[in-house]
């Protein structure tokens, strides 16, 4: 007897086709994902605003691309420097959008993170629909001078692509 199933636990695991772009749309980084880092001050990417003009990002930002496969994504962006005068750290914010970079549809709820202040890590989580491209935008909110370095950690999904028993 031969059984075949998709999306089951165990057996053979394969990495999905997740790729990351440093700028919008940017250079693709290889997988598997083991963390990433960047510095929006050094970025040449500037979306200026997202979500129909409702979310300004006047400073430079970084964009990371994810090709959805139906699984859940959770990413935490942690600021790692203290280069902002007066405040001592920068206030990172993260926004996920689908479709196209910069002008795509902004994900509401947990697809948008800016819950903390200066120096506080921000986490976005969302379900990445299969065959849909997502962009995770790392930006710095209202102030153009508010930028800095950061790391990205978290779990990208591992999807079972094939399960068979002979």
């Amino acid at each position: 007897m031969k059984l075949r199933a998709l999306l089951c636990l165990g057996a053979f695991l394969a990495m999905p086709s997740f790729t990351f772009a440093a700028v919008c749309p940017g250079t693709l980084l290889s997988k598997p994902f083991s963390g990433a880092s960047g510095n929006t001050c050094a970025s040449t990417n500037s979306i200026t605003s997202m979500c129909g003009g409702g979310l300004d990002s006047p400073g430079n930002d970084d964009a990371y691309q994810i090709n959805g496969d139906g699984s859940s994504v959770s990413l935490t962006v942690t600021p790692t420097d203290t280069n902002v005068p007066a405040t001592g750290a920068w206030d990172v914010a993260v926004q996920v959008m689908s479709g196209t970079c910069a002008t795509g549809t902004c994900l509401s709820g947990t697809g948008s993170a800016d819950s903390g202040g200066n120096g506080v890590a921000e986490t976005v989580s969302f379900t990445a629909t299969a065959a849909t491209t997502y962009y995770v935008i790392v930006y710095s909110g209202q102030l153009a001078a508010n930028c800095g370095s950061y790391t990205i950690s978290g779990s990208l999904p591992v999807t079972l692509e094939k399960f068979s028993v002979d």
Binding site: S49, G52, L55, A93, C106, S108, G109, D114, S115
Partner: protein, 260 residues
């Protein structure tokens, strides 16, 4: 002229029939699906509730509230991307909407208070922004409501930020409607009407350092708009994070005046 988008957030024909309870039944958040998308985050909310803002009220209106969120990205907006179907964006764009910002009032309504009611976005970004026009609600030192229009105008800006602004001060409490006529390009302009019928009265042009010419060539045509609460000032979030702002009867067209 073809209407780009009419989102009255009401079904006038049903209300006119006087169906008992129909106004409440039809004012559900499912009406938000008429928009290209909506965007909320943190604890912010968008709802469709009973009683419109027009002189003869439609059944429903849109409410936006930051839900107590004080984060800098706290946003509650509806978005229309249909103008983007035209390559390069719409070169001319008229829009009209109703608003009521009475919840933002009192001694805290000062010059540090600001929220964006409407964003009209261009096809390209320049000078650090891509909004061709922003309609802002602000306060002043007399705790009055101020409606500010900030338009992209490039080299015609009196300041270095590429913006041409006009303030309409001492706007009374209550329901209001604002219509704008945006003509993009190197010799662009923005004409506006606040509580004035654009089908029968001449509007007012946003001034620039070249009279009323706004050089919008760097921003292209109009590709999208958003309406609600966005890009608020820190003082707004500190004092009015739980205030509900009301919107209604958004309509956009290429050329034809809309009116009340």
């Amino acid at each position: 002229m073809k209407s780009l988008k009419t989102l009255m957030l009401a079904v006038a024909s049903l209300a006119g029939l006087g169906i008992a309870g129909s106004a409440f039944a039809q004012c559900a958040d499912t009406n938000l699906s008429a928009w290209s998308s909506t965007f909320t985050n943190n604890a912010t909310t968008l709802h469709v509730v009973a009683t419109g803002l027009e002189a003869t009220p439609s059944a429903c209106k849109l409410t936006a509230n930051l839900g107590g969120s004080t984060q800098q990205n706290a946003t509650a907006i509806v978005i229309d991307t249909t103008p983007g179907a035209t390559a390069g964006g719409e070169p001319r764009y008229r829009a009209r909407f109703y608003f009521n910002v009475d919840a933002v009032t009192g001694a805290s309504l000062n010059s540090g208070i600001q929220s964006t009611l409407l964003n009209v976005v261009g096809n390209s970004a320049s000078q650090g922004f891509n909004q061709i026009l922003r309609v802002l609600h602000r306060g002043n030192s007399s705790n009055q409501h101020v409606i500010r229009l900030a338009a992209a105008c490039g080299a015609n800006s009196p300041s270095a930020d590429g913006l041409c602004r006009v303030d309409i001060s001492n706007v009374a409490a209550g329901n209001h409607y604002l219509e704008v006529d945006i003509q993009t390009g190197a010799t662009g302009s923005v004409t506006y009407w606040l509580d004035s019928n654009a089908t029968s009265t001449a509007g007012t042009l946003i001034p620039s350092n070249s009279g009323t010419t706004l050089n919008m060539s760097a921003w292209g045509g109009v590709v999208s708009m958003s309406m609600g609460i966005s890009n608020t000032s820190p003082n707004y979030r500190a004092s009015f994070a739980s205030a509900t702002q009301n919107f209604d009867a958004f309509d956009s067209r290429r050329q034809t005046a809309i009116g009340p």
